[in-house]
């Protein structure tokens, strides 16, 4: 019990130590007000651009889901960058603790944070557009959101790990964010992508989640959940990939000797 408490406590400290939105004002702007407007923008665009409200519903929820990218890229994504900036990266490398545990601790609260944003987004959509769904649809949406958030955060770790080698991580994060946006299918069907680029979305986070949301909102809960499991496979692949990648990059950092440049 005390072990778990210590683990959570450290995850919290890791979150607090590197976050950009630490004070309540910053949090409110970055994680609540900004997403709210972002969502409203898409929501109105879609609500009046689509013929049927049913179509719009899918896209509104999908965009609420996309709010998780704020945490995934501006939170998880900058972890190693921020460590480098503060000069603590050397201790992240020097720790004898299992890197697996260390990484997990570092992202845990970012995932929870993302989940809060997504939930707020979805609730907002429900309230504004006066959606009325059965209880099990809400439950399914919640589960799908959780899996999607974990998956996109794992992708965030993957991108973040480049921060072990370079301090120029921001452009990488911007590109990653745009790519996820584009290929998620949250704003237009993947099938419409030219040159058969649709397949790319298969290996990027959130695309399966968007499909899952579509299924669930249309009442096909089980097929939705199945799609969501695919999402977790994608997330798992990124997490495992990141783990090995981070070990490789740490070694690379020892070769190049730039772990304390900032």
């Amino acid at each position: 019990m005390r072990r778990i408490a210590a683990f959570l406590r450290n995850s919290w400290l890791a979150f607090k130590g590197v976050s950009l939105w630490l004070n309540p004002q910053a949090y409110l702007t970055e994680k609540i007000v900004n997403p709210m407007f972002r969502l409203l923008f898409y929501a109105f665009l879609l609500a009046y651009g689509y013929k049927t409200m049913e179509n719009a519903t899918v896209y509104i929820f999908a965009n609420a889901m996309l709010l998780s990218t704020i945490s995934a890229f501006n939170g998880v994504g900058i972890i190693y960058f921020s460590e480098r900036h503060q000069g603590t990266l050397i201790y992240t490398i020097m720790t004898p603790k299992s890197k697996f545990v260390v990484i997990f601790q570092k992202v845990l609260f970012h995932i929870l944070d993302a989940l809060i944003t997504v939930t707020i987004g979805m609730l907002l959509a429900v309230v504004i557009f006066n959606f009325k769904f059965a209880g099990n649809i809400y439950a399914a949406l919640l589960l799908i959101s959780i899996l999607g958030t974990v998956s996109v955060s794992a992708f965030g770790i993957f991108v973040s790990s480049f921060g072990l080698l370079t301090r120029d991580i921001n452009m990488l994060l911007s590109i990653a964010e745009s790519v996820v946006f584009l290929f998620s299918g949250a704003n237009f069907p993947i099938k419409r992508l030219p040159f058969g680029l649709g397949f790319v979305s298969q290996i990027l986070p959130l695309s399966h989640t968007v499909l899952a949301i579509r299924s669930v909102v249309r009442g096909n809960i089980w097929s939705g959940l199945k799609l969501s499991y695919m999402e977790i496979v994608v997330g798992l692949v990124y997490f495992v990939l990141s783990f090995f990648f981070i070990r490789f990059l740490e070694h690379q950092a020892r070769v190049q000797g730039n772990s304390d440049l900032y």
Partner: protein, 328 residues
């Protein structure tokens, strides 16, 4: 001999590449084949001008950097093959204000690092309190964010942080940089205390007095090479005479200078004109004999002031590195 560190022919190059073409622009040879051993329980000082390779050495030993060639063993473990074993037993403190989570408080920083080193939960709190006390951080600031601290407070916190895993071996890279005189002295006392606790310490500094006071042995590095190594006393013996006598005279003749230079106990002499007075600097091994014979020669010349000082580590340093003090 119980060896804590064993370095053999250690080399490290830094390759600087062009950003655009990734072509090699320059190779900095930071370490050019250094070898030395450090005994367990020793305080070992590494001195040398900026860019000499001190930090590079420390980073290789603390597993942050891989050697280009040569071997380095810490507590019997090779830095390339068994970094984890080393990491459990060492810690590193870099001087300066970074290397801490600025937005966390002292206690939070300590807690975080305690978990990073898996300090047993049972003793964690006590250890944190003991270390903060040892480092001399005022308790009323323990809950403030580190970003609000002065340089010295951050430095103290770093020391406490560096001891969180109760390391056998501690690397201190310029730990007193920017500390006030009292803070620096307190830090030296902490280092002495750590030695009494049986810890082995590698210490880099630019303050000679400090190195002289603390270190059991010293290596002076320049351009990635060891130019001398030994106890402070040995180094002084090896590279300088024991005493320096300084005399201030109103005038002196060439004849006197010649006679002084030929005296048996005068090993080396130099003159300098300062504010219309002549300053004589005489290096000697035998102080009283030299003074007596010098006074005999100078009979009749008014002597305004005499001072005798023992030669210092700084004299050694300046003698070995003086003049061509080029930065890199």
């Amino acid at each position: 001999m119980n060896v804590a560190i064993d370095i053999h022919e250690l080399r490290r190059d830094y390759v600087i590449r062009s950003i655009l073409s990734n072509k090699i622009k320059r190779v900095v040879k930071a370490l050019n084949g250094i070898s030395f051993k450090v005994k367990k329980g020793e305080i070992f000082g590494i001195l040398g001008p900026n860019g000499a390779g001190k930090t590079t050495t420390v980073k290789i030993l603390s597993t942050l950097l891989l050697p280009t060639s040569g071997t380095a063993k810490v507590l019997g473990y090779d830095v390339e093959k068994h970094p984890i074993e080393i990491r459990k037993r060492i810690n590193l403190v870099m001087g300066g204000e970074r290397n801490l989570y600025q937005r966390l408080s002292t206690l939070e920083n300590m807690e975080y690092f305690a978990e990073l080193y898996d300090v047993p939960l049972k003793i964690r709190k006590k250890r944190i309190y003991d270390l903060l006390e040892l480092a001399g951080l005022q308790e009323e600031r323990w809950r403030d964010k580190v970003e609000t601290y002065s340089k010295g407070m951050k430095q103290r916190l770093q020391i406490a942080r560096g001891l969180i895993n109760d390391p056998d071996f501690l690397f201190l890279d310029e730990p007193t940089i920017g500390l006030d005189p009292i803070g620096a002295r307190e830090l030296r006392n902490i280092v002495k205390k750590l030695k009494r606790m049986g810890k082995t310490i590698i210490f880099t500094t630019h303050y000679m007095q400090e190195a002289d006071e603390l270190c059991d042995r010293i290596a002076i590095l320049d351009k990635g090479r060891i130019i001398t190594i030994g106890t402070p006393t040995d180094l002084k013996k090896m590279h300088t005479e024991k005493f320096q006598i300084e005399l201030i005279l109103s005038f002196i003749t060439h004849e006197h200078i010649e006679r002084l230079q030929n005296l048996k106990y005068v090993n080396h002499m130099r003159t300098k004109e300062l504010e219309k007075n002549i300053h004589l600097f005489i290096d000697t091994q035998a102080c009283s004999e030299a003074v007596e014979s010098v006074f005999n020669v100078l009979h009749g010349i008014p002597i305004q002031d005499v001072s005798i000082k023992k030669s210092t580590l700084e004299d050694v340093y300046v003698k070995l590195l003086g003049g061509e003090h080029n930065q890199s």
